[in-house]
Symmetry: C2
Subunit: 291 residues, 2 copies
């Protein structure tokens, strides 16, 4: 008998992750703030919970993957929230990207209820979520990870235990800072050479013949050239992750000069966007919003 | 009968490039500010010129690759400089990294003497220079590039004609801005997660499992972890290239916020360095110079 999974958060990442759990045969109970996003999963056999606490009450393993720290606090702690319904001996896995501090507070609340907890944010994008190829960055105890593995293995291919609770979030924030800065680096270089009269395609060609090449840029550069930014990793979420990284840096008194600079650029593009673009839309800082 | 090559500048890049020309059988006349750096080439059959003008006077093709704009101006225009000795009908190839503006001034001076000119800075590092695998970013006329190819092919594998004179330098500055920002991005992410208690090796492991991976970081990250920075691309030269990129950006009124921020970081590390480290020594900003 497979354990019952509660799953909260059916966004760009959560939905394909839940689909993989369902395909693997886990009894699945889902909840999402926008209920219609569960329709496809319900047709495929998932049950719909009326509120987060209902998904938690029946779950052997509860997985949360929501957009930001306030969203996680809401699904856990507001009225009919999940935390008060989690059963002793159950397991909570949070794959949202939130602050390490919030991850530690969740861990503490779980400890009080005799619930195991992993912070386990992911990398690999929507493609990785669909293919079950995600990499999980995990904070928690190794016994807890061992217990979680049969579930995680339906969604990912790598499970890196990085330290105690919070460690997964720390590394995730570092990784997203890196990704944000890589795309910003290419955007600045492209802005410079095109302003000097070089066709953007030529810059990409040189980059791809050089040590500057990167898988991320191979994916994003063609979109940046076209000025098309369908959201694979929405800019609003990357903006939030860089903000969390900078907040952590300030707590730790670590200077991140380029991180701060890029954050202002992402902020300006976010504030003037009328759509919900991918974070590679940072290119608009040079092609649209700057004057 | 192969054309005679004059070669000025026997640094980390120039020396292996000149060795490849010599191996390919080109008569070679070399000059370097520090004369002993020519010893190995002279033993292998190159002739030593007493001053830049002597290397230029006998050359069918003169190649210059020196450290910065003032060094190029000196070898071309100071007393016994190369420019006044270049013969009508000869070809000058400058593979230094200098400003596009200087490249255009050299082109103009060459035009007046009926000398062909290419700005042709390179990417590929010392490894590429040794293996004859460099990528040349070329500004100039296609007929001139066609004429230069038999010579360039002994040193490189790709010759990208990017526009009129100056275009090679524009793209080179954009590329080095990208490389400088990529290494800085990794340094900031690493500084953040290690300050939060994550071992640096784990961050590298996660990066290499992710879209954040890049060939440049695969090479530099292990050195940054060890705190060892043998100069493959010296920080003082990267600092100069970022400065040139920012100067070009200001002329063109292009904002490069992360570029400006990273430049200040590279500057601080350069100013406090007691050695001549690789540009990946930017990591010292967090491990040594910051307080």
């Amino acid at each position: 008998m497979k354990p019952t999974i509660g799953f909260i958060g059916l966004g760009l990442m959560g939905k394909p992750m839940a689909q993989n759990l369902l395909r693997a045969g886990f009894p699945l109970l889902v909840w999402n703030r926008t209920a219609w996003k569960a329709d496809e999963l319900v047709r495929a056999g998932a049950k719909l919970a009326a509120y987060p606490g209902e998904a938690a009450a029946q779950a052997d393993v509860l997985i949360t993957i929501v957009s930001d720290p306030p969203a996680l606090e809401q699904v856990l702690w507001r009225e009919h929230g999940a935390m008060e319904s989690l059963r002793a001996g159950s397991l909570l896995i949070d794959s949202s990207t939130v602050s390490p501090d919030l991850a530690r507070r969740v861990a503490e609340a779980c400890r009080k209820r005799d619930v195991d907890f992993l912070d386990a944010p992911v990398t690999g994008g929507t493609w990785g979520a669909e293919k079950g190829e995600l990499v999980f960055m995990v904070g928690g105890r190794s016994e807890t990870l061992a217990r979680a593995k049969p579930v995680l293995e339906t969604m990912g291919r790598k499970f890196l235990l990085l330290g105690p609770n919070g460690a997964g979030q720390i590394v995730k924030l570092g990784m997203n800072l890196l990704l944000a800065l890589e795309v910003n680096a290419f955007a600045e270089a492209l802005a410079l050479v095109t302003a000097a009269g070089i066709p953007a395609e030529r810059m990409v060609e040189v980059m791809q013949s050089s040590m500057g090449r990167a898988p991320l840029l191979d994916v994003k550069a063609p979109l940046m050239l076209k000025g098309e930014f369908p959201a694979s990793f929405p800019l609003r979420l990357m903006h939030k992750d860089v903000r969390l990284a900078l907040e952590l840096a300030r707590e730790l008194r670590v200077a991140l000069p380029a991180g701060e600079a890029a954050f202002r650029t992402y902020s300006q593009v976010r504030d003037s966007a009328k759509d919900d673009p991918d974070f590679s839309a940072i290119m608009r800082f040079w092609t649209e919003t700057a004057s």
